[in-house]
């Protein structure tokens, strides 16, 4: 795979990706267990968004507005967030395979969230997210420790991530299966493969601001991320406060991952597929890459959700299964290419 010489203009990319997001979103709110005709859907949207005085069946309105649309919005935010995490981690760690799931950060976040539930510290999505953040930070620490302790190198980070994932997934499974209060912990599959099943508007109220704010914070560091291309010393020599930027961006990715895991569980490979595909189209400059990746991640995730609900009739596949179906081949392709270039 060689990179095209001419790059896609960012404006066009954002326009097309925006259109794709609209299309995927429309599919997401039209498809479901219950067939709802288009006019009814449009009426719901007209009433809710533009405050039009239309008569709509409250049940249909509930389905379209409270279930399907909130789900699509959270899917979009989560996709954007996870893709952004992958994009930032790949630049910071200088490893094309870096991604919250493969590095075990999502697994750590799951463990943290489950522990908060079991210990009963605080309540609601915020404390869940904070617990997940603690877990994600611990996973980061563990991976960093393992990777540097075993002699560094890009492959070591991935190996350390595998070890970390296994450890944290085992911890999550242990806590979920041994906990007496099953009603609070959600199923183990949720923490391992993710689910958009129980999403409602309050979840979107957390997901959307988080991804927008973190997106802007990362965009502020776009130049720094570019400068990391040739390593930490090279970045420092270009005037980047590398230590500060590193800590700041690791914290942002840990927080993003934690927030998404506490909402939809651990969904893998989004951070792998999307940034690479986007980089291929708009180039490696992070000023362009970050907004493009967030938008492309949103499209990918909403599309994956639609697929997860339609591939097997009458059954919903875990969202993580669908993303892995796309992610695993991408993983192989990236491995293959890095073999050739090195």
């Amino acid at each position: 795979m060689s990179y095209p010489r001419r790059r896609f203009p960012l404006g066009w990319f954002l326009l097309l990706a925006g259109a794709a997001l609209l299309a995927a979103g429309s599919a997401a709110i039209s498809i479901g267990d219950v067939r709802i005709p288009l006019p009814a859907i449009l009426k719901v949207l007209g009433r809710q968004i533009f405050g039009l005085d239309l008569t709509v069946d409250p049940i249909r309105e509930g389905i379209v507005w409270h279930y399907r649309l909130s789900r699509a919005v959270v899917a979009a935010a989560a996709g954007g967030a996870l893709a952004l995490c992958g994009c930032v981690l790949q630049a910071l760690l200088r490893n094309p395979l870096a991604e919250p799931y493969l590095l075990g950060i999502a697994a750590g976040a799951s463990t943290g969230a489950v522990m908060v539930i079991i210990l009963g510290v605080g309540a609601g999505a915020v404390s869940l997210t904070l617990g997940a953040f603690g877990g994600a930070a611990a996973a980061f620490g563990l991976v960093a420790l393992l990777a540097t302790g075993t002699g560094g190198g890009t492959e070591r980070i991935i190996l350390a991530g595998i070890a970390g994932s296994q450890l944290f997934n085992a911890a999550t499974s242990f806590i979920v299966t041994t906990s007496a209060s099953a009603e609070q912990t959600r199923g183990i599959m949720f923490w391992l493969l993710g689910s958009l099943g129980g999403i409602r508007w309050p979840d979107a109220g957390l997901a959307v601001p988080v991804v927008l704010i973190c997106g802007l914070l990362c965009l502020r560091r776009a130049r720094a991320l570019d400068a990391f291309a040739f390593g930490e010393d090279a970045a420092a020599a270009l005037g980047i406060e590398t230590g500060k930027v590193r800590v700041e961006l690791f914290a942002i990715t840990a927080f993003l991952t934690a927030a998404m895991v506490s909402l939809i569980g651990a969904v893998g490979f989004v951070g792998l597929v999307v940034p690479h595909a986007t980089r291929f189209l708009v180039g490696p400059g992070h000023e362009r890459l970050i907004p493009a990746t967030v938008l492309a991640g949103a499209v990918f995730m909403v599309g994956a959700d639609v697929l997860s609900r339609t591939v097997v009739p009458g059954q919903v596949l875990p969202i993580g299964v669908v993303t892995a179906l796309f992610g695993a081949p991408a993983f192989v392709a990236i491995l293959w290419r890095s073999r050739r270039t090195s």
């Binding site: 049940i59 509930g62 209060s181 009603e183 959600r186 949720f190 508007w201």
Partner: protein
Amino acid sequence: MTKYIPVAVGGLSLLMAAGLAFPALAQVGGAAVTIENCGRTLEFDEAPERIVSIGQGTTEILLSLGLADRIAGTATWVSDLPGELAEAGANLPRIAENTPGFEAVVGTRPDMVAVQWINDIGPEQGRVGTFAQFEDFGIPVYVSPAECAKSEFGAASGDGARSEAWSSDLLYREVAELADIGGVPSEGEALIADSREREAAAARDAEALAAEEISVVYWFSSPEIDGEAWLAGGYGAPQWISNVIGLRNVVDSHEEWPLVGWETIADHDPDVIVLGTMKRRNQPADNVALKREFLETDPLTSQMTAVHDGRLVELDAHAMNPTLRAIDGVARLAEAISALGLTR
């Protein structure tokens, strides 16, 4: 979809259930009691003295037959015992609250295992073990005929599926067989006669309800509180209860407990939602208070007629399974529904 052998087994046992309310027990090979069970022939030269009962439904039948002192171990509890059995079952040894381990069961040195769910002990696989594993130890396994009659043992949502509707005849067959095995056939006959009577009385009381069509769903639990729900399918015990009372179960799946999304449930907008109550806390929505809270706070389900108009009825989850309590469930549910004022 359907597997060949389970269909044959199910067909066979249904044939027996329909034709032989009190199965004539063939006397073969000199054994005192010989019973066809899930495609196997069980022979008992003498009544078992140490029975392990896996599944509360089976345990309650044994208790009702006065066999409490023969029970060497129990497992898979859902609720407290009903008042009339509380005393008899007060000191039952419990191997496990939920699924027991194979060794724990064998370790009690039973001379028979009676199991309510074929998912726990089955022909090819089971959470506890297989028929063959127990036969290796010379322990006969008796499975509830209601389970043998299923067309699929482990369908998508794990509780199997039926091609033929369940009815109390299958239950009475189980009572009669367990009574024969335990050497107390007359107790069995008495229990069946009593249950039939209660069933008939409940049906008479419910006649007034049948004047108007009332649609209903039965919510047992959910794997995720605000996700999809396990609702009663169209061929299990809740369907039979609905038929007796004259309610319309909006779910017509062959699966015993299909997972149904709230989109679909809300779209059908049933008149009444029956909520399972249980002591079990195995699944996120086992607690009936959480079920109620979800229905009343969720933006979609709170719009449903049944939630809106306060037509949420609680029913012992155990009565939604093919057990003796399903008989009582008819009367309880009929009573609760007439209390809602849906009838004229």
